[in-house]
Amino acid sequence: MRGKVPIAVSAALVLALPACSADATDPERPLRGVLTTPTDIDLDWQDTRPGIAGHVLEFATEESGPYTVLRYLAPHVTSYRHPDLLPHTTFHYRLRSYRGPTVRPARTDLADGLRFTWTDDSPDEDGFLLEIRKKDSHRYDPVAVVPPDTETTDFVPLPDERHAGYRIRAFVLGEQSNVVRLTTGE
């Protein structure tokens, strides 16, 4: 139901800013990174805006991309380690927030997995996230991304995921963060 993702003008302005900032907590530059070892990069971010359902962390090895999604991350997650990296390579990282409502999907047990079905009544989603709440946990985390205009997905759970709670989120991507650029060594 959705074509191109609109990017707010402010996102372009954020990207145009120089990489150096004296204030590491600058809300306009929420993503930070450091080369922890010659081949490990640690990233962290702050995003306290209301209504944020999570973030997508992406990387590329060329400034112009293509960017590849590293992970969809729940809002309580504010850091990520990208380990064992390609040596002598410049990595570019950016973060995108996403928002969207959740629904409880119908669940069918298959011989080797689970099937979830739901009704797509979202007019402009960028996709759907299958989110899991493991037993004894109070938090949901994304475990699979599903293309837009979809109303079913199959999921093969790990042994401790079969009896977990699941929900579906129709998500819409938001603005891009600043870009963090770091070069590995070794």
């Binding site: 990174g33 060329e62 040596p87 699979a144």
Partner: protein, 200 residues
């Protein structure tokens, strides 16, 4: 959140990197001397395999026979070769589908096979090692392989080193697409993009 001391350290690292690290002319990995190359290829469709550009489909669920939809690139001998590509599995009702192969033309046989199980586990067919769980339907995954012929074959998933494998000498070639492994079955649709090769 980090302590103030770490905040200062992080800011310094970012600034130093931004000022000193010039963008690379190529995205190839591992230390220099790489030269971009464009090896020729032919398309292989066997059984229920179908190739449409960079979309590779296995349209049947059979668990036997030669079911393949792949690109087979030109044979190389010696030196170091690098492959880069991104794939997205758009449907997978089957399992154990090979996505990328480094084929030993001297043995002959597949020397390294990156395959996916239903559920998204990416694994090395020979040895069975798990490389990542990133191969879920709908997710885009970047693959780099670096092959030092006669020394070692390394596989990077989304930029991280996930597999190392000793390499014999001889002649090899790259393949990617969708191919039913001996223990696998279709159906599967895989879309590849941003394919590049280097050598040194």
């Amino acid at each position: 959140m980090p302590l103030p001391l770490r905040t200062v350290t992080v800011t310094t690292a970012l600034c130093a990197t931004s000022l000193l690290a010039a963008p690379q002319a190529f995205a190839e990995v591992e230390p220099g001397g790489w030269r971009s190359v464009s090896p020729s290829f032919n398309v292989q469709e066997r059984g229920c395999g179908q190739v449409d550009g960079l979309t590779f489909r296995l349209t049947c669920s059979t668990a036997s026979g030669d079911q393949r939809a792949e690109r087979r690139y030109a044979t190389y001998t010696g030196g170091t070769r690098q492959f880069e590509g991104r794939f997205r599995i758009t449907s997978l009702s089957g399992t154990r589908i090979s996505l990328k192969q480094t084929f030993n033309d001297s043995a002959p046989g597949p020397y390294f096979m990156l395959a996916v199980e239903r559920g998204g586990r990416l694994y090395a067919v020979h040895g069975g090692a798990t490389l990542s769980n990133a191969g879920t339907v709908g997710a885009t995954v970047r693959v780099n392989t670096v092959h030092q012929v006669g020394v070692e074959h390394r596989t990077y998933i989304n930029g991280s080193l996930k597999h190392r494998y000793a390499s014999p000498g001889g002649s090899f070639y790259d393949k990617f697409g969708a191919y039913r492994t001996n223990s696998g079955s279709g159906q599967a649709t895989v879309e590849w993009s941003d394919i590049r090769f280097w050598r040194k």
